[in-house]
Symmetry: C2
């Protein structure tokens, strides 16, 4: 019997973090008697008077939103990072070590419409969200205390999203966060050794194989990474080796919007539900010298495994020992690739 | 204004992994309108004829459980790791890298009683579970393909547990898993530099401070680690610097059972619910030479944040950037320390 990575348990190396995932493809046949989630949720109105993100409404801190018609950004009323935290360090015998952290947290409403989500928005409207992301990166980079800007979206109740109004967040921090520092290390190592972008070489190989590719346009590719942890985890990678969304041309921004729509429509179509995920772009650190090794990309971490109601639990073994997955990345890519790019609600 | 780690946002270093957590103590006042979990669940019968773990019942694969009266172990019917996986490797241009993995997965029923959980069991009954853990580590270490044995428990539906019958799991693998390899690296670095156990020195400092200590007996200490990620995350650390549960004396096993009971009763009492968690011992690798740097400990990762219904979501920022917590470890320790050690159901 020969080792077949589509059938036998094995580990795969994550190029971006240097870590690895345990893959158990045979295990997807396991029956499920455990927790199920409540599916999608009812159709929402275009405007909800109780929503603190809808145009014109009052927010928790008493401020009112303007009658915005385009993507709208404001400082998070419950920021995890604050601008005015005093500097300081704690170090007791090299055992108790803490460093104070300054930062800025914002909320971005993607649309004035309460009932939409990215896959239900027009490409032109998604392009405006991307424009705002780029503006925000520019603006926040101009603040010399900021070293890293994380833009992300938690979509769906199951991903801890407390308001269904389409929105994302920005947490800009004084330090380079953990996951980013791992990716920095791995990309730098490869770049120093080969003089080329790690992700560019990886993308070239994936495009040759086609096995894990979901969609491709002139400027972006969506794929299931070889080392995906979550069942339907994906990445969008830019064909051009750039460090940040601020470097995208107008044409690239439009192509990125198209790819975002394409991928998120496939996600919604997979289980005919508003597909939950956490997603975010990984940009190079800012105010931190040049980072020619960094290659822009965006991660999608969706929790669903078998249906709109059954998610993958990252628990005991995963927390204590090693991330583990039950279906192969190739199987996931095949399913996502086969789906239509017209939203199921519009059929 | 001076930096105060109990009040201001900051990062803390995790000594065991070398990673760090973002702490935002001020953020606990955030209101919650998002997802709530259904609490604890109804009282269960002592025996459930539909449970595939109760004594005498049929399992999914057709085998029947014996009429067991003591902790009972069997091979997992849906093992993520298998004994007979063929050896093999994949390496395409250093970009797609996979290694086949053999292993053994088992299930351990803690008690024949369907209605119990660890905090509701007698110390003498918990001691028998620990005896079985030690036996299993011994037996599995005798298999030369095994390098690491992870014993763990997923407790509660919210932790992906699909059957409420009190049980845990063992996944024994051919490789050293990711989290363990991080802890190995950190402990070895300290041991090589100081000639002492990292956790022994850490424990000494924590006992001096008392701030994060929850409970202590002659042989074990339960505490909230300085770098805890989950709201009520804890560790049990052995006072004696040993590598494995197999080295515990009879007296130590009894003290460990007492500490397990003490800590899990406090957990149940915190929100007066059967407190969900994933927990597991971290042992030194086996069949891998000496590991004098390794210091036995056990982690508890519980998801609840504010009540039996509101958990902490480790989502967008946490997945893409950095683990983040909203209450300070010191506050969590204070609350757990103040709780009675008589189970709320027995009051
Ligand atoms: O093996 P079980 O209990 O069916 O499954 C549970 O624990 C496993 C190990 O942590 C996880 O991989 C699964 O996602 C979880 O549902
Ligand atoms: O800021 P929100 O949307 O209230 O909160 C959500 O996203 C944050 C960032 O990923 C998490 O820390 C919270 O646990 C989650 O509920």
């Amino acid at each position: 019997m020969h080792f077949d990575y589509k059938e036998h348990p094995h580990t795969r190396v994550n190029l971006l973090t240097g870590e690895w995932v345990l893959v158990s493809p045979h295990r997807s046949k396991r029956p499920w008697q455990g927790k199920t989630e409540s599916a999608g949720g009812a159709q929402r109105p275009e405007y909800d008077s109780t929503c603190y993100l809808c145009p014109g409404n009052k927010r928790v801190d008493g401020d009112s939103n303007p009658q915005y018609t385009e993507p709208y950004v404001f400082i998070n009323d419950f920021s995890a990072l604050l601008k005015d935290t005093p500097d300081g360090e704690l170090n007791e015998e090299g055992l108790l070590m803490a460093t104070s952290q300054k930062g800025i947290c914002k909320v971005i409403c993607f649309s004035p419409r309460h009932d939409l989500t990215l896959p239900e928005m027009e490409v032109s409207a998604i392009t405006k969200v991307i424009d705002l992301w780029a503006e925000q990166v520019k603006e926040l980079s101009a603040n010399p205390i900021i070293r890293y800007i994380q833009i992300f979206e938690n979509k769906g109740e199951i991903m801890g999203c407390s308001n269904p109004h389409p929105h994302g967040q920005i947490w800009a921090s004084q330090n380079v966060p953990l996951e980013v520092s791992k990716e920095l290390h791995q990309q730098k190592k490869y770049y120093d050794q080969h003089g080329r972008s790690l992700l560019a070489d990886y993308l070239k190989l994936e495009l040759k194989k086609q096995e894990r590719i979901i969609a491709e346009n002139d400027h972006f590719v969506a794929l299931v990474p070889f080392w995906a942890v979550w069942p339907y985890e994906t990445m969008i990678i830019s064909k051009r080796h750039v460090q940040s969304v601020v470097q995208f041309t107008t044409e690239e921004k439009q192509a990125f919007a198209e790819m975002l729509q394409n991928l998120t429509i496939r996600y919604d179509n997979l289980f005919e539900t508003s597909f939950p995920y956490s997603a975010g772009m990984h940009e190079a650190p800012v105010n931190d010298g040049e980072h020619p090794e960094w290659h822009w990309h965006m991660h999608f971490y969706p929790p669903l495994l078998r249906s709109a109601n059954v998610k993958k639990f990252m628990v005991g073994y995963e927390m204590l020992a090693n991330p583990q997955r039950d279906i192969s990345p190739e199987f996931a890519a095949e399913r996502l690739r086969a789906l239509p790019t017209v939203h199921y609600k519009k059929k």
